[in-house]
Symmetry: C2
């Protein structure tokens, strides 16, 4: 028998993933429900893109402060329901209502997320049938089917679990995510659903999710494009029955650490499975005049196509890294700047470091690995920031150019 | 016999392009001199990258206000002389001094530009020999050799000529440029040299070049990376002997228009020959709340890898364009937004426009052409801006990933 694998490990949750026909292949699940047996303390984070899909609008209307009580979330892949006009919002309401019926609650207790093609209407009849089917399949044995059902061009499911003790009580935090570039074939999305049996207030959960995302979901980049459908949903069942956690009270730190671990693992999985990616590039900037400067500098490196192609080719081309730093708005003195790749210093005192054959070999070996570390010390302050990105390969072009809408 | 083709068409200029051994192939010219027979009224624009090569530092020191009187410019390709420490500046001074000797002037009348690999010292002995050789070759019959000598991964030379009348006098503006992505193999550069026989003050020339660049050199993007070596040099011999043009006086408008034409043509040539490019994408944003908003929105589209890959695949994927607009900081109301590709409206009233088969065919035909026009009307003001970029192809990855330093 299949068993609890991740999102139903926290007490109080069930999940289902079914095929309803949005995606053409009958083997591909395309609709998931993750439900809580009580109204879960819930927090959401949504995309920073100015233009958003109808599902995002719905979630923001339900939870205007970003937190509240929710029974479950329904997610479909294959169609993002974005730029679909009034019909798009009617279809979202339809999904929420039907899922509410299945869960025995009103539609305003149901979050909706969609990912996939944009500009096309949902095949709502298929979706309705899928919701009914998923409702019947809800259990603690379908975690992987749910994880599969939210994927687009992702090549694998993404999940993470962390456990911690709050006082004497063990609590579990788990999550699934999809990512994979922003387009697949037309537009994909970063969606993550996190479940926990911690007993935590909605506002504390929101604070914790926002903080954990800063260094995980918000610190990754596949191609610097920001989708109209990005959402992180965190639901807490409270089934661990510990003392209610507030954002300044006992247990918050322990909970946050576990949540951070889950978010970090999911974010890493999203980058590692980025469209065409063959490796993960960790860009660490330290010594910046401010945290903002550090972030700007790190993003300038992580978003540079020249850095990303060099890393793809395992090319120790520190020039591209330094040039990317120079074009960022971060305050920079080349004489103070030190750059290393892996453990090898490559730039210092305004010049490249002369490398022995042995050191060069070590550097290339690092560059050929699955994880590449780039560290830039600006030598001008205490600001630091880390961004994760992936390399840029022919496959990215293939995935994104060879498809015709 | 070869004859004046572009940069020596304006009276008073000679040019040379020679092979001195910086590039390995003996067939490839790698050093150029463009000289004026008098001290030319000269203006420069240099890169916005915070980190710059020694040649850029030299030019800025010679012309701290961006204009002055200069006899000539020496340019080498194959080595950018960037991040080369004090030695780098000594080598620049060496180049300027030797070129000055060849031209019969002091080194402070000679601008220096370099493009190519960064982080490596110039092979200065070869460069010295090259300068002597180029000095002997200076003539009005070597324009194309000079245009070739400044190329890196460019696949063709780039030149432009415009003529105009100022009063009764005909004046000529000509230019050559190199571009081609920012890296080739390690770092390339946008370099342009413009010559004219107009009789214009240095400060007026600088104002004219700065204005012309706003909508040409500064409005193009190949891969959003900014080099440490970018420079535009404009030299006016005054040989047309018209009345001296100041930035508010007679003739300035006519001169500026001719200069704009040359800059526009060179900028187009740079984009069209971008690394791996198969087409030029013209991104027009209008109806923005401000010019700044229009520029931010246009750049967000032009720098989006998803838009660039879609255009490469001739995919009418308006979703990617709208999403790129949404992630820009430009003020945006989706209901007011209208997007068209070529002459075909694709997005309006918050939704995609339903296209007939005939319209779709017309759209795809436009997308398969050499020039693609994207127009986004934000419907919220009078700000407008146009950016030119190229598509993103497998060849870009090939050029930039398959090389190992």
């Amino acid at each position: 028998m299949a068993k609890k694998q991740h999102i139903t490990l926290p007490d109080g949750f069930t999940a289902a993933g079914v095929h309803c026909g949005i995606k053409s292949s009958a083997k591909q699940e395309d609709l998931a429900i993750i439900a809580c047996e009580v109204n879960a303390s819930t927090a959401i984070l949504t995309t920073s893109n100015q233009l958003v899909g109808a599902p995002i609008e719905w979630c923001r209307e339900l939870l205007p402060k970003g937190h509240g009580r929710i029974r479950g979330v329904v997610i479909n892949s294959g169609c993002a329901n974005v730029f679909t006009g009034e019909q798009g919002m009617e279809d979202v309401e339809d999904m929420a209502e039907r899922t509410g019926k299945v869960l025995g609650v009103a539609s305003d207790k149901v979050l909706v997320a969609s990912t996939g093609l944009i500009g096309q209407r949902l095949p709502i009849k298929k979706v309705r049938t899928g919701i009914t089917k998923a409702g019947k399949a809800l259990s603690t044995t379908n975690d992987e089917a749910a994880a599969r059902a939210i994927l687009t061009t992702d090549t694998k499911t993404k999940s993470a679990v962390a456990k911690t003790k709050i006082g004497a009580k063990e609590i579990t935090v788990a999550g699934i995510a999809k990512g994979s570039g922003m387009i697949a074939p037309s537009l994909a999305t970063m969606i993550a659903v996190i479940t926990t049996d911690a007993n935590i207030t909605g506002s504390a959960l929101r604070t914790a999710v926002r903080n954990a995302s800063k260094t995980s979901f918000n610190a990754v980049s596949v191609d610097s494009d920001t989708s109209t459908s990005d959402i992180v949903v965190a639901m807490a069942s409270g089934k661990s029955r510990g003392k209610l956690i507030s954002s300044r009270g006992a247990g918050y730190k322990e909970f946050s650490d576990a949540l951070q671990e889950v978010c970090d693992k999911l974010a890493y999985a999203v980058v590692a499975d980025g469209e065409g990616a063959t490796k993960v590039i960790h860009v660490h900037v330290k010594g910046a005049a401010s945290k903002g400067d550090a972030e700007a500098a790190a993003r300038s490196i992580a978003d540079s196509p020249l850095v990303k192609t060099a890393m793809h080719g395992a090319d120790p081309n520190w020039g591209r890294i330094v040039v990317a730093l120079g074009k960022s708005p971060a305050k920079l003195d080349p004489e103070q700047l030190a750059v290393s790749i892996g453990e090898t210093a490559v730039f210092r005192g305004g010049m490249g470091v002369k490398l022995s054959a042995a050191k060069k070999q070590k550097l290339v070996k690092h560059l050929k690995g699955k994880d590449v570390e780039i560290t830039a010390d600006l030598g001008g302050g205490k600001g630091n920031f880390t961004v994760m990105t992936c390399d840029l390969s022919r496959n990215y072009i293939k995935i994104n150019a060879d498809y015709s809408t």
